[in-house]
Structure formats: C-alpha cells, structure tokens
Amino acid sequence: MNNTATIGHNSPVKMTARGVNVFYGAKQAIKNVSLDVSREHVTAFIGPSGCGKSTFLRCLNRMNDTVENARVEGDIQLDGQDIYSPAMDVVQLRARVGMVFQKPNPFPKSIYENIAYGPRIHGLARTKAEFDVIVESALRKAGLWDEVKDRLGESGTAMSGGQQQRLCIARAIAVEPEVILMDEPCSALDPIATARIEELIDELRGRYAIVIVTHNMQQAARVSQRTAFFHLGTMVEYGETSAIFTNPKETRTKDYITGRYG
C-alpha cells in the first residue's frame, strides 16, 4: 500500500505531511500518515470515531501542543516550512492556519469583539475604522453580516447554534489565514444550519485552503474535492472525492462508505 498520497493533477500544494506519527503517552493514535493539502480545494478527512482524523487535523496547526503527553513525529510543512521546527512561531502558525471547532465556541463577548479579537492581538488594525472594515468583511464572507449588522454589540453566545458556528468561521477569517481547519463543524447543528455552513465552505473554497473533518460521508461528498479515509490511526486511502466515493481502491474504504461499519 502506498502510504504517501499526493494530490496530482498539478494542484498547488499548501501543506505537506510526511511520515506523521502521534502518540498519547504510550498509545499511538496516528501511524505513519503522509498526505498533501491542496491550496485550492476542500480536503475532507473521513472515518469512524476514534480513527485519528481529528488528531491529525490538530497536528496541522499544532493544537496538540496543548494536550498533555501528546508527541508528534514526522514532518509537516506549510509552504515548505517545517511547522514543528524551533524556528516556527506557534502563535503565528495558528494565525496562518485557523481553526473552527466541533462545538461553536464564540467568546462570551460581543459579536464585534469576537471578530476584532484576532486582528487586535496580531496588530492587523489600529483605528476603529480599520477594525470596522475587518469586522464587516469577515462577517460578510461568513454570510452573517445581514443577520447581525444591527446587533454587533450583542453577545456572541446569544445567537443560534448555526449563527454561532458561522461567527466562529468569521472569527477565523478575520485574521486572514491561509488554511482553515474545520473539526466536524456541523456535528452540533441542525440540517438547515448545516446546509448553510456547507454553502459557506463552498464560497470560501479557493480563497483559503480548507481541511474539514466530518463524520458525515454525504457531507464530505458534497463539500470536498479531495477525501482521505482514516481507519485505526492509519490513512487508508486518499484521492479525489469522486473517485473515493464511486470507485474506492481499498476494501476497507468501500466497506465504510457503503455503510458496512463506522
């Protein structure tokens, strides 16, 4: 089995992972995973619970650093730069590789403040006018502007779950990241809010490299152009989404997408 999955089709590569192993204490959660993340596409990670797809995602912006006992081996590069090298500033990395989490987690502050926080700590704006521009453009990109423009001072936690998640996406967009990682962003949302987020992901495609972890195979099929199937800590198969869903090479992939387990 060829464990190194490349994107092919001359697609520009944003991030590369080579021989990544992740350990939680003595337990190995990720076994020798190598793949490339396309700059222009949405990449989906699918697989049953506990397969390591979220763990791998969190390696891409070093969120695993905060996990006790977690150890990451291997080589992960962002634009050819090793993100685990001492020369990489992790704070800057997380600004360049933004993240949206499973459960909407807006700050318990105003909508405006939720968006303005990232740009403020990175010094991306100084005057109120500059912040206003950033907040409006981020909310517009997240398709939230028309819903909230009259109540920017209200708490971000007072919105509906779907709005909260789009606020979190807007918050990630506000620092102009290069990659957006989404860890099951719709798992806590109803179907209508989910559809709205999926549309949004489609709109953001091309502007940002997007990696999405999902439980929902239909969602992966709908929003992504590249799909990686994880199982028991290994990456079983990686390729174009249409190929994975219509013509999987591995039997495990086939069994999973046809609903035999998972």
């Binding site: 905060t66 989490f101 987690n105 318990p108 926080y117 990232g118 990175h122 979190c168 990630a172």
Partner: protein, 436 residues
C-alpha cells in the same frame, strides 16, 4: 417421580405481576411512609437549626443593642479661667491651643460636678474631655457658663438602661445604694438622658466601659485585612493560574496540590505560632502590629484562595481556550484575556469568603501580640492594634459589668461586617456568573 412441580415444569413461565396484590400495596404504602418521614425529619432539622440561629442572634441583639446607647448627665459649667489656670488673653494668642490643652480640665470638672450635690459621683472620670473639646472648638466659651452633657459612669448608665434588678439585696445586685439614689435624683431633676453612643463608635478601647469604643479594633481589622488581601490575593491567584494553566502534571505538582489542600485544613493557631517564630523572633517585626497580623492571616488565607481560584479556572470551558489559541493567542493572552476574566467572579467569591474567615480569626492574632490593650486608634500598619474578634474576646473576659453589652455590641458590628462581605460574595457570584 410421577408428579412434577409446575415451577419445574415450566421455569420460564412467570405469573403476571399482580400490581393490586396486598403485598404490593403494603410495599407502596411503606415507600410513601418512608418519604413522609424523611421530609418530616428534614423539616424538623431545619426548624431546629433556625431556632438555634434565632436564639443566638436574639440574645446578642438583646444584650448588645444598649451598647450603642449611652447615658449622659447634664452639668452646668462655668468656664472660669482662674479655675482652669489660663490667661484668657494668652489663650486667644498664637499658642492658644497648647495652653488650652494643658489647662486644668479635671479641676474644672470636679468643681462643676460638685454642683450636682450628692450625685457628683455619677459623672464619668473622663468627663473633663468634653469640657476641653467644647472650649477648643469654641474658645469664646472662656468665662461663660453653659450646660454641657457629659458621660455618666458605667453603673449610672446601666441603671438608666434598666440592667440592674433593684429588688435584689444590695450586696448581690452589683450596684450600691448610693449609685441608685444618685440615679433617682438625677432622673427626678431631668438631668439625665440616653442617646446614641458616639464614644463606642468613634473611640478605641478603655478600662472604663463607658469610654470604651470599637473604632480602634475596627480600624485594626481593616488595616490587617488590607495587608492580608494585598498579599494573599495576587500570590494565590498567580499560583492557581500557574498550577492550572502552565505547570506540568507530574509528581511534584501532585505533591504541591496535596500540600495546599492540607494547609487549608491546618488549625489557624499553627499559623499564629509560625508568625510568632518567624516574623517576630527572626525578622524582628513590630509586635501587635497589623503588618504582622496581616501577613500571618495571609498565610492562613492563601490556600483557601488558591483552591477557590483553581476551581474557578477549571470551570472555564476548554473550548474558550481552544478558541483563543485557534486565532493565534499566546498562552499568556489566553489566560489574561479569556480565562481570568471568566474565572474572576468565582475567584472573588472565594477570596471574599477567605477574607471573611480571616476577619473572624482570633487565635493566630493572639500569638503575634494583637491582644494588646490599645487605647488609640491605630494610624498605620506598624502601630499597636487589635482586631474586632480579639476585642470581643478581651471584653468578654473583663469583670466589669458594663462590658457585657459592649461585648455583644462588638459582636453585632463584627457580624454586620461579615454579613456585608458574604452578601457581596453572593452578589458577585449571581451578577457575573455565566452559563455556556
């Protein structure tokens, strides 16, 4: 075996449960009975606790209420410069204040009190202070005659408040026949009144109950608690932040955690011994000072604040930390811009409760010398001082009858302050509590 028991024949076939069977009905009745009994016991326990509380507060308020009142005697005073031994011209001069302060006020008081006739002894020993203060406030009084209200002795005060049982035999009622007749005489002439006890609220301790006040101890408590909070709060909160957010989880931090929990349970007098041995004997810090008392109480309060702050920090959902890290906040920014503001209400609640405990603490302060008899209101952190609970302890120990109501009055003051602090803690918790 020819006959087969039905149960053996068909072990799976259970008879349908008869919910109306007498056995079942009995069980249901027993369940209801148990619940009724439990509710009754709970209610009884609550009522008993409430009754104890009402009894405690009731007796304290009953005994202490009159401590906020005092009896005064009206005397007619002629501010005769000759009796005072001052030259009226010099008293108006540049050194007038010094001259007036040195005048023979005690002599003037004696002369004035004698005008009361047989009831001259009803005037407190320190009544002359009133005369001095009146003239210093208005030097034009020199040479004039005025009626002035001066404090009565403690026994006259207690007589006026009806604290003595006058039907009891003279030798066992604690007050002499002369004092009783003095009081009757003054009352007949209308030369006696009972009003707000400003002395109690504005002065420090005294050997005479009618001159003793709570202010010295209250300021002592305030100064002590200022030291305590300014040491315990920052150290406690920073320790909690470090332990929760930054410290590696290993055997050392486990050991520190267990130690902190143990320290919170150490009897407070042990901290007093530590304060005595370390701050007084090794560092030679001033005895009886709010500085030393405050540091000692800070050591005692520290573990309480660390534990409360850790709980509050732990209660901030990890998703908030993820969110902040996810937009590129540094660990310090995560802590100070997100975790700490959200944990602050809990931290403040714990701190106020710790401070309330420190305010009510007596034992460790006795050991660092804060049980001193201090007749001045402390002016600074190194002045000799006492604190409210120690003042209560000192007065409750005093043999003079007049201190009984002062003790209860001091307890009322202490409890009002504690009530205020706990109310603030509850307010902060309700006002800033967030739900995720």
């Amino acid at each position: 075996m020819a006959t087969v028991m039905p149960a053996e024949a068909a072990p799976q076939a259970r008879t349908p449960t008869d919910w109306q069977a007498p056995d079942m009905q009995r069980r249901i009745a027993a369940r209801y009975r148990a619940e009724r009994n439990f509710r009754f016991l709970g209610l009884a326990a609550l009522l008993l606790a409430g009754a104890f509380l009402v009894f405690l507060l009731g007796t304290i308020v009953r005994d202490g209420w009159s401590g906020f009142q005092r009896t005064e005697v009206q005397v007619s005073v002629t501010f005769d410069p000759a009796v005072l031994g001052v030259d009226p011209a010099a008293a108006r001069g540049p050194d007038g204040l010094t001259i007036l302060r040195r005048a023979d006020w005690v002599g003037l008081m004696l002369v004035s009190a004698n005008r009361l006739g047989p009831a001259a002894d009803a005037v407190s020993e320190a009544a002359w202070v009133r005369l001095r203060d009146a003239v210093i406030a208005d030097p034009a009084l020199l040479g004039q005659t005025r009626t002035i209200w001066v404090p009565a002795t403690s026994n006259i005060d207690l007589l006026a408040k009806g604290k003595f049982d006058l039907d009891a035999p003279a030798e066992s009622r604690g007050v002499s026949d002369e004092e009783v007749s003095d009081w009757r005489l003054l009352a007949q002439k209308g030369l006696i009144r009972t009003g707000l006890n400003t002395t109690f609220l504005m002065e420090a301790d005294s050997t005479d109950p009618e001159l003793a006040g709570i202010r010295g101890a209250a300021i002592g408590s305030l100064l002590t608690l200022l030291i305590t909070i300014s040491i315990a709060f920052p150290i406690g909160v920073l320790s909690a932040i470090y332990l929760e957010e930054f410290a590696p989880k290993n055997r050392w931090t486990d050991f520190i955690e267990v130690s902190i929990n143990n320290l919170a349970a150490v009897p407070s007098i042990i901290f007093g011994l530590l304060g005595l041995a370390l701050f007084l004997n090794v560092f030679n810090m001033p005895r009886s000072a709010p500085l030393v008392g405050g540091i000692t109480l800070a050591l005692m309060t520290l573990p309480v604040i660390v534990i409360a702050a850790r709980v509050a920090i732990k209660a901030v959902p990890p998703s908030i930390r993820d969110a902040a890290l996810g937009v590129g906040a540094s660990p310090i920014q995560v802590v100070f811009q997100h975790v700490l503001p959200l944990a602050l209400p809990g931290i403040l609640t714990g701190t106020i409760i710790g401070m309330a405990r420190a305010l009510g603490e007596t034992a460790p302060l006795l050991l660092v010398g804060m049980r001193a008899f201090v007749t001045d209101v402390p002016q600074g952190f190194a002045d000799p001082a006492t604190v409210l609970p120690v003042q209560v302890f000192l007065w409750s120990d005093d043999v003079q009858r007049g201190f009984i109501e002062k003790t209860s009055a001091a307890i009322i003051v202490l409890m009002l302050v504690l009530l205020l602090m706990n109310s603030l803690a509850i307010y902060l918790r309700n006002r800033f509590e967030r739900r995720w």
